[in-house]
Symmetry: C2
Subunit: 395 residues, 2 copies
Amino acid sequence: MQLFWLPLLPCLYVTSLCSAEQGLEFPSFDGKDRVLHINERNYKKALKRFDMLCLLYHEPQPAHKGRQKQLQMTELVLELTAQVLEDKDIGFGMVDSQKDAKVAKKLGLEEEGSLYIFKDDRVIEFDGELSADTLVEFLLDVLEDPVELISNPMELRAFERMEEDIRLIGYFKGEDSYYKAFQEASERFQPYIKFFATFDKTAKHLSLKMNEVNFYEPFMEEPAILPGRQLSEMEIVEFVHQHKRATLRKLRAEDMFETWEDDLDGIHIVAFAEEEDPDGYEFLEILKDVARDNTNNPELSIVWIDPDDFPLLTTYWEKTFKVNLFKPQIGVVNVTDADSVWLDMSNDEDLPTAEELEDWIEDVLSGKVNTEDDDDVKDDYDYDVVDREDRDLFK
Amino acid sequence: MQLFWLPLLPCLYVTSLCSAEQGLEFPSFDGKDRVLHINERNYKKALKRFDMLCLLYHEPQPAHKGRQKQLQMTELVLELTAQVLEDKDIGFGMVDSQKDAKVAKKLGLEEEGSLYIFKDDRVIEFDGELSADTLVEFLLDVLEDPVELISNPMELRAFERMEEDIRLIGYFKGEDSYYKAFQEASERFQPYIKFFATFDKTAKHLSLKMNEVNFYEPFMEEPAILPGRQLSEMEIVEFVHQHKRATLRKLRAEDMFETWEDDLDGIHIVAFAEEEDPDGYEFLEILKDVARDNTNNPELSIVWIDPDDFPLLTTYWEKTFKVNLFKPQIGVVNVTDADSVWLDMSNDEDLPTAEELEDWIEDVLSGKVNTEDDDDVKDDYDYDVVDREDRDLFK
């Protein structure tokens, strides 16, 4: 197979597949350069020219060939994204952390590999999967209004179903100053955290008082009510920052690396469960119970991964963690070296109860179950311990 | 930007993004050839060697450069898929429809651009998006058991929530001959149609009698009950074939082209609605009502597209159909030329009612609303008509 020339792009598809039928044509890169190389001379002009400017802050041209390719690959992802969104007035650019250090400093770019989106007077950091799919979906979300209005019972049901997301909802008289404060707060979290508002009696179903804002943590049935009734933008922003690390949070492509970096003392409690699978669904319901019982424990934040959302990582995780992802799993992962310990659920027909899971989590939080102490733990509990050595044998 | 050399792959990602943290490494193609070029000499050996063999049946090496690239791109998608699934004992190969015509005939390959999966004594055709994500997820699904057991109320809830899918559920004494017939039928539809079974009292919640099989059309609350109680494999297969074109069906990456090819007299009624969006959710609920009212009309099959599932196609659809996909839309699309007519919902604050939608659908089915008859329709109804000419101006 010859590989050397290909200007390939993610999610390209063979048009001959449905040559007789029209309406489903995936884009392929047309070869036109749209991504700018940003420097001191052109950055101001670029900021002015577009409604939105997306800048990839990247490491200097690497010496290593593999990394060079990856950098060019990333640029191509940006090129395809730029092409797909051509009519949306979005500019794209690259900023080299060494050559363009001055510009980077002026623009406040800090994390290599992140994409920074400049919209109006704010900056949104994207630290997710750099694929064209994820990026296009993310940017289309940024283009939407940051606050969605809820005006009938059906829309309220839609709101209630979004249990995976952090959501805020406020009840206002109309577009007055309190609503404006809410809207301005929403812009600081768009599109990661969802903001809703209602101007009518829909609010009663949620027992919202006028000018009150409710904060829903993912998977929680009861909202946290923001103290005080007439809130300033900063009060809302502050509250969100305090509460945004949820007790149970789903790994999402659009902020997966940010979530992963937000570890607790170098570890994550990770649960794998396919929501579409009866077993996985059942396990997830148990997890939600545990999360609801422990929502006030700031030391607990379980990362739920649905393998269906990350097909390309599934076998990597199976190898790295030595677990079977056709079944639900829960374990502790050390993010420094990816060592891990997994709760042994292989012998039981039944999944653990919420109580059993809570006991195990307590053991994790107390350090009794940990990724370093392999043998001890194995004797006591029959946990599956996988460290780097085992993994190498397993390859 | 230099493009000529890149061995790029879908969903590759820059490792430097989270170099300090381990556990989320996307695979990049390692350059090792795993995809076989299948011919008369090696096809039998390949079939024997692997548990599962996936063969891409493709057009002969095209003269056109763009199509050559696309073919090579597709091969790379297969290579990455093969690499990711390396430990699963799946073989991958390419069959040229001209050079390998004899082999293709022997193997029963017919549609260029389709992937054929040989597992045990059956063949599964994949006619979906040829991206590594979609393909890996699909093949992992094929590796699972074709029948899932439901054995407690929580798993039953999981089953009930899968309203988007065609699902069958049977109640059996155990793994007897009636269950076996059900299992063998399931293998013919795996993984497109989901089969479930229960051996215990869970069945009572569904009012299932012993050896009875229920067929759930997507979005329908009541199942179709398979006539007779003790069913043969062929009776089940026949019934599924008769009912598998649903009144409302969701476009899915894994069989999108097959769905699109299954048009009704050259047209599709297409509804765009984002389920995660309050407006989209509301519109979808109306659509479901319409589908439930008209489930016995064999001429009606609405294709629901959630734009969130196809980010790379969203702006292509917006241009081709001249519609705004931030809002729900419904229209008629001619699959031969992608001409379309859309129901005008722009002036109303409210979405159409189920009755209004039914009236419009009746007009579509009677030919009163159609994609050819632009001016007439425009005067009468103020539908947005987009034909190829308009689209060209719009570019």
